[in-house]
């Protein structure tokens, strides 16, 4: 832990303020709680919201895992992991099962989460209604009155235009049968993992200054139509590295001649499977 910084970078008053916002968010699942987002030593869009949430909840005995698009070894994941190793001196891991806090961008790990774990999501735009209704005053009322018809209008448009619901990531959900929520840009493949998950899910949007939460064992339902039910992505192939058939696969271009392969987006999950197989 580097001298000159407070534990986990943020000062204690800021952490308290953020913890209060988190408590409120947990108390009202899916509700966006405003908070006083701080300037962080990295730009908006790089996970400033997630980092502030992590910084507020992390303790010296926590074990941190950070993933970006499912991978532990991308720039963003590495730099955030190092940031906390440096400012909080906490242990880090790439193993989902070993982590107590998992900060993530765009994925939920394939390994089932357990009670006691906390997932911190980095959120670019927290308001699910924003593209449909630009006025904040109006979207607040829509949330207040659970008036979410325009979200279905959006799904209707998808079907009318493409024949199916074309939204594949950041797929809107209703939390605890009340609030409409953006699950952050995770693939809709991960939406079912939000439902009744034993882990606590916290969402932080730094630029938009909002925190929201899905407490453990909360009902999370993806919006759909009776005759166009919600469904997740499937692949005709399995992971080229570990052979997984029920994981979220990324398409990787291997050469300039059209060569490609599909591999697990969750690098830890993939590595673990290979280890076990070996």
């Amino acid at each position: 832990m580097t001298a000159g910084y407070n534990f986990a970078y943020l000062d204690e008053q800021t952490k308290r303020m953020i913890r209060r916002a988190i408590l409120k968010a947990v108390a009202i699942p899916g509700y966006q709680v405003p908070f006083g987002s701080r300037e962080m030593p990295l730009p908006y869009g790089w996970g400033t919201g997630g980092i502030q949430v992590t910084a507020s909840i992390i303790g010296s005995d926590d074990v941190l895992k950070v993933i970006d698009q499912g991978a532990d070894d991308t720039t963003n994941a590495i730099s955030i992991r190092r940031f906390f190793a440096k400012t909080a001196g906490v242990a880090t891991t790439t193993r989902t099962a070993d982590a107590t806090i998992i900060q993530t961008r765009h994925r939920i790990p394939e390994t089932p989460l357990r009670a006691g774990q906390i997932v911190v999501f980095q959120v670019p735009i927290p308001e699910p209604l924003r593209w449909l209704e630009p006025r904040e005053s109006e979207t607040r009322q829509m949330h207040a009155y659970a008036d979410y018809a325009i979200m279905h209008v959006k799904l209707y448009e998808d079907i009318a235009r493409y024949g199916h619901i074309a939204t594949t990531y950041d797929y809107p959900v209703i939390v605890n049968e009340r609030y409409l929520m953006r699950p952050s840009p995770i693939p809709k493949f991960d939406n079912p993992k939000l439902d009744m998950n034993p882990a606590l899910m916290l969402f932080g949007a730094g630029r938009e200054k909002r925190i929201y939460a899905v407490p453990p064992y909360t009902i999370v339902k993806s919006l759909d139509f009776e005759d166009h039910p919600f469904s997740i992505e499937t692949w005709d192939t399995s992971c080229a590295l570990c052979g997984a058939t029920n994981a979220f696969l990324d398409e990787v271009i291997t050469d300039d001649h059209g060569g490609k392969m599909f591999v697990c987006s969750d690098s830890d999950h993939c590595a673990e499977r290979k280890e076990k197989a070996a």
Partner: protein
């Protein structure tokens, strides 16, 4: 029994306005407005610009809380409520089920970013419709009814002509079969020939659906053709209210006389 209850329900006004006042600072927009509107009745509100017509309409349709007075309405179950006494969520539900609002400018009443079908389907989805095929079927029926080619259902409203946009706005409002529709200059800004078509449609719809309507207009010809009664406003007050043909042919108030004598023969 059924016939009797029908008559009884018919004998209650759908909307009763009592001593409604609305001011903006020192300027009085509406002063002591009183009237009743019965099911199936069309009331036209006329008067010069600034007479308080649009403010009154906003007070009636839940957009603008009056300073004083009541806007009472009879619900489908026969109970009577003050529009501004019920909770906001309930008022919002009411506005998109029992009531319709047709704006002069289609931009205020349509979502230009989504298709015509979605514009019509939105009110259905708002009251819980979750079957895509059914929503689409119902939307198609209403587009057809408003003489919009169903083949253009998936097009965006900005590709439509002004008259079509206005008809789309009406379809969007009528899809939940409201009992009361508010219209602010529904034929304003349209070509005369398109106006005629819209008037014809409005009139037949009002007749077929038994709609009650409050229409703000400055066009006395529109009022004569559409309205059962005419309300003349001046300086925020109602100066005359009567059967449309009576007010137009035998106006009593000096301002009504001026208004009627100021227009070309209608």
């Amino acid at each position: 029994m059924n016939a009797i209850s029908k008559i009884a329900a018919n004998d209650l006004p759908l909307l009763s306005v009592r001593q409604l006042d609305k001011s903006f600072g020192a300027r009085t927009a509406c002063r002591n407005i009183n009237f009743d509107l019965w099911p199936g009745e069309v009331l036209a509100v006329v008067g010069e610009s600034g007479a308080g017509k649009s403010t009154l309409l906003r007070c009636l349709c839940g957009d603008q809380q009056p300073d004083l007075g009541q806007v009472l309405f009879t619900r489908r179950d026969g109970s009577i409520s003050d529009l501004y006494d019920i909770p906001e969520p309930e008022r919002r539900i009411l506005m998109r089920t029992d009531w319709g609002i047709i704006h002069q400018n289609p931009r205020d009443g349509l979502r230009f970013g989504v298709s015509a079908g979605a514009n019509v389907g939105e009110r259905l989805m708002a009251i819980g419709a979750r079957n895509y095929a059914e929503i689409r079927r119902t939307a198609a029926i209403w587009l057809e009814r408003l003489e919009i080619d169903v083949a253009r259902m998936d097009e965006l409203p900005f590709t439509f002509s002004g008259g079509m946009q206005q008809r789309l706005q009406i379809a969007r409002n009528l899809v939940t079969q409201p009992r009361l529709v508010f219209m602010d200059e529904p034929t304003g800004g349209l070509d005369v020939s398109v106006q005629a078509k819209l008037l014809d449609l409005l009139r037949s719809l009002v007749g077929e659906l038994g709609l009650a309507a409050v229409i703000v207009t400055h066009d006395l010809a529109v009022a004569r053709l559409l309205a059962d009664r005419l309300m003349v406003m001046q300086g925020g007050a109602v100066v005359e209210l009567g059967l449309t043909d009576q007010v137009l042919d035998d106006p009593q108030h000096p301002y009504s006389q001026l208004l009627v004598s100021s227009v070309l023969q209608i």
